[in-house]
Amino acid sequence: MINVDAFQAAINLLSTPDAWWVVPPGLIIGLFFGSIPGLSISIAMAVFLPATLYMDFLPAILFLTAIFTGGGFGGAIPAIMLNIPGTSSSVATAFDGYPMACRGEHAQALGIGLVGSVLGTLAGYVLLLFAVQFISHWVLRLGPTEMLVVALWGVTLIAILNDASISKGISAGIFGILISTIGYSDAGQMRGTFGSMYLLDGIPVIPGLIGFFAASELFNLVGKQYIVNDSSLREVKFANILSGMRYAFGKPFQLLRGSVMGTVIGAIPGVGASIANLARISHEGIKESG
């Protein structure tokens, strides 16, 4: 269970009002970096880490946490509006969000994404608060075998997610696995670098995501004037965002299920939100088809 004294001390620290002024700018920075494909939460943290040198430790932690939290939703914005996930954790958001945007329901999709992100993050933090001790013991016992099983599970999820053809989904998953092996192996073998020093470290996730999602979407958009053809549906109305938020609030059990699943999968090292969001959407898809 949680250490009550330490928890009480943390609450006392957080009750310092002066420490909270860094949260809004941190959220805005996270939103900005998360919403631009190519910039990521980790880049935002790296860029703004020097700023924390001039802060006390509590505002510094709050600032970086705010950047992380803001970036979590920021990645959903290009996923919904452009079908280009800003972060690997918002890949599944594009599956449902972009079709909604094409129908002119982008504001509702943003509202749903915002509530899902905020409540999911909050629930995840609360769950972690109570379970972090147990989970940390459990995570440390995970070895290569368990990691392989989780990775294979991720590939299987990709196959399930592709409604049109399982073989296409499997080949896409294998393609991803093979791309991830490019560069120096743990044993020092150089693989698939074509002699380029830029590939020695492999292909990072974010450039890979942008290459596959952004480039393919660019090709789709060539020759088109607008994503939404009907000009009356192109406006972003705050009322529509609110209606999307109301819709999300009306699904508390789905939000809770997603939060629990995200927390459990996100606690596994090396897996994180990249698989958690796919697992969640495949679980919903299976339930609906069932």
Binding site: I43, V47, S165, S167, K168, I170, S171, I174, F175, I177, L178, T181, S185, A187, Q189, M190, R191, G192, A215, L218, F219, N220, V222, G223
Partner: protein, 161 residues
Amino acid sequence: MVSENRREQFPLGNILFALSLAAAFGYYAHDVFVDARGVTDWLLIAPAAGIGITALLVNVGAKVIDWYHRRHCLDQDALDSTVGDASVLPAMLFMGLLALYAALIPVIGFDLGSFLFICLALYLQGERRWWVILGFSFVVSAPVVIVFIELLNIRLPTLLI
């Protein structure tokens, strides 16, 4: 309507892509296998490539069988239709432009390359007002170049900055 006509044609593009990808999987797995110093070097890659190639060949087979079943139900006029070509050409040109941009960045620099890429992409999209093309390209490419090079300190080849 366009997509319906195109679906009934022989899925040459799909099949060529799948076979090329399968060949790439095979080449990569072979390359790793040849250079491997032990089983652990190819233990993941070779079986994964094998599964991927099998999945792609299954996909090719399914496409061909699907096309075979459909082609007898078709009107010949629909088969001969070239309605789709008009929408494919801009996308193909854009792919070529993107490849050219990536290839020329080391030579002409990220700054000039980005500017020219956006100019040509806008022209492909149908924009013909030269001041819009030049102005928009500059307004978009300059901040991107400055952010990446000055703020994020990413080492990129440049010609002007």
